[in-house]
């Protein structure tokens, strides 16, 4: 199955060998403006019920990938490649607004980072949940939708769901609002749930509950989850597989425990070192990755990481291909040695 999508320059995404039909298959996704590539050669698949993390520093293209999946790119930014959803007869790339509005919120839904602004401030939250079901004709009429909305709010464990349904967003706390956002996203049992840093804006105590709700939500529906974050600890608790993104490319992918214990790409190594709060260097400081993420368009040719990489050589002027080895893949000419 991997072979049928293999191209000469871009190997297939780290596939799930036994999945009948992936919930989401992204192939050779390229996003950019006329003269600037923002995302290059991104390929991956999500099996139904699979939970995949997408990690990387700010500016590495994570959120843009999510927007591209939903076809919500800004006017001047264009996508090419292919994005296929199960049970959807057309390619998201190049689909019309009318086609996409049937997919969004139905086959594919998204939870945004900022719960304070993701809800319409002048609409009762119950109506906002009900509306999404009415919109995609999951409920016959307004009254039924309203009832189902209260049920959804109860499922995300909002205290007093009846009262919460009548509340306006500003009357709820950040954590409560994010539950409402999750209820809206899960209302129509999407095949793919995208979460863009859904817990970053929340208190640590509330975070854990939110993650729990997301996990239960996707498990009940057998939805595939693409979880975007820069919090490695969160990825480790939520996801089975991880995609590491840098400079608009996927630089490493694989099962989470393997990638996190034996990273191959120096960037992944750097991320892990940087998030280790116990390890210090010779001068007693926490590890960092030297330099900062360049602005879009300022990434070096060849390997995008080579200007920050300690192992970079002349060879890194060439773009390293994403090399697959079992369930894992990495794009590096000088991968971190595997301890054997």
């Amino acid at each position: 199955m991997n072979n049928q999508i293999a191209g000469p320059s871009t190997p297939p995404g780290a596939g799930i060998p036994d999945a009948a039909e992936p919930a989401l298959r992204v192939r050779d996704l390229r996003v950019g403006t006329d003269n600037l590539d923002l995302i290059t050669d991104v390929s991956f698949t999500l099996a139904p019920g699979e939970r995949v993390g997408l990690i990387g520093e700010s500016g590495s293209g994570k959120s843009l990938t999510a927007l591209a999946l939903l076809g919500l790119l800004p006017e001047e930014v264009k996508a090419s490649g292919s994005i296929r959803l199960s049970e959807v007869g057309f390619d998201v790339v190049g689909a019309s607004e009318r086609q996409m509005s049937k997919v969004r919120g139905d086959r594919m839904a998204m939870v945004f980072q900022e719960p304070m602004t993701a809800l319409n401030p002048v609409m009762q939250v119950g109506d906002q949940v009900a509306e999404i079901m009415l919109l995609h004709r999951r409920q016959p009429d307004r009254r039924a939708a309203r009832r189902a909305a209260v049920e959804m709010l109860a499922k995300v464990r909002l205290p007093d769901p009846e009262g919460a349904a009548r509340a306006y967003p500003h009357q709820l706390s950040g954590g409560q609002r994010q539950r409402v956002v999750l209820a809206i996203a899960l209302a129509n049992d999407p095949a793919v749930l995208l979460c863009d840093e859904p817990t970053t804006a929340l208190d640590v105590t509330v975070q854990a509950h939110m993650l729990d709700l997301i996990l239960t939500g996707v498990a009940e529906r057998d939805s595939a989850l693409l979880f975007i974050t820069h919090d490695l600890a969160v990825v480790a608790t939520v996801c089975e597989r991880v995609l590491v993104m840098y400079g608009g490319r996927i630089v490493e992918s694989g099962p989470i425990d393997e990638v996190f214990t034996r990273p191959r790409h120096p960037y992944t190594r750097g991320l892990l070192d940087a998030s280790d709060m116990d390890a210090v260097d010779g001068r007693g400081r926490l590890h960092t990755i030297p330099g900062t993420v360049p602005a879009a368009g300022r990434f070096p040719d060849g390997c995008v990481f080579r200007n920050r990489c300690a192992h970079a050589t002349q060879q890194c002027v060439q773009v390293p291909p994403l090399e697959h080895k079992g369930a894992r893949a990495h794009a590096c000419w000088h991968p971190v040695e595997e301890p054997t």
Partner: protein, 292 residues
């Protein structure tokens, strides 16, 4: 978990009715009362006035305050109080026509300009600028010249001249709303453009539009007064506060009360509608509700 959340969930449990009741504010009460007074006067004038406001009484010219004529009479012996009552009708009619035209045309135009493609927006806004270049009064005088002076043509002109201010305001509000995450979320949920305009943009800019309407209402009242003063607005003998001012002009020294009362009425109406607009915004915008 529930403990964590319950601390901040107090308002949720509160019934909606109680929440709304607590949102009467002073400007709403005062503005509402003034506007109610004007509406009341206009309604009253249909069933009762002390005298026929157009009846000329040569014997009672320029009488001062008295039991017979509460606010005295003008140079034709017409009862000032009766004229004020009937003039309230004109004032309301003027405001409703002018603001109605301006808001109904201007608001959708502004939303379209804010949501549509860059080109559509540019075309609408440049057309808007063109219209804005015409002073409202000049436009009204042009209309009066073409269609003959009447309250309706004057107000249609004022309304059309006020369209740009609504379109501009609606557009800037729309641009703000379109940049919010909940519009992105609504698009991610599969909402179409038209639905976003109706369900998300319009409710979120309605506060702006209401306030703008009340200001435009006040401006329309002033414009009507000015046009009537110039002789392009309400035709005699229909009583209008503006025309009463105009007729009192030559008698300003001998009978200042003739200018005083319509002046007070106009000022009060303008104040009332402004306060009402502020109050309505505070009342109906859930974001401005006092947080606990």
């Amino acid at each position: 978990m529930s403990e964590q959340v319950n601390v901040v969930s107090v308002p949720v449990a509160e019934p909606a009715a109680a929440r709304r009741g607590s949102r009467l504010n002073p400007s709403l009460i005062v503005g509402g009362s003034i506007v109610a007074l004007i509406i009341g006067a206009a309604l009253l004038s249909f069933v009762w006035t002390p005298y026929d406001p157009t009846r000329i009484d040569a014997a009672a010219r320029l009488t001062s305050y008295s039991g017979d004529h509460w606010l005295g009479t003008d140079k034709f012996g017409r009862d000032v109080f009766s004229q004020l009552l009937v003039g309230a009708r004109t004032t309301l009619f003027v405001g409703i026509v002018a603001v109605g035209i301006a808001a109904v045309i201007g608001t959708p135009l502004g939303i379209f300009a804010g949501m549509g493609s860059r080109w559509a927006g540019e075309i609408v806004m440049r057309g808007n600028d063109l219209l804005l270049a015409f002073p409202a009064l000049l436009m009204a005088i042009m209309f009066a010249a073409v269609y003959g002076p009447s309250t309706l043509t004057a107000m249609a002109a004022i309304g059309i001249a006020t369209v740009p201010s609504f379109a501009r305001l609606a557009r800037s509000g729309t641009l703000g709303v379109m940049n919010t995450e909940y519009v992105l979320a609504a698009r991610a949920a599969g909402r179409t453009r038209r639905a976003i305009a109706v369900r998300h943009v319009l409710p979120n800019i309605s506060g702006l539009v209401i306030v703008q309407s009340s200001v435009a209402f006040a401006i329309a009242i002033l414009a009507e007064a000015a046009l009537s003063f110039l002789g392009f607005g309400t035709r005699p003998p229909t009583p209008s506060w503006g025309r009463m001012l105009q007729e009192s002009q030559e008698l300003l020294h001998s009978a200042p009360r003739l200018a005083l009362w319509p002046g007070i009425a106009i000022a009060l109406a303008v104040l009332g509608f402004n306060l009402l607009g502020d109050g309505l915004r505070d009342r109906f915008d859930p974001r401005l509700e006092v947080r606990r």
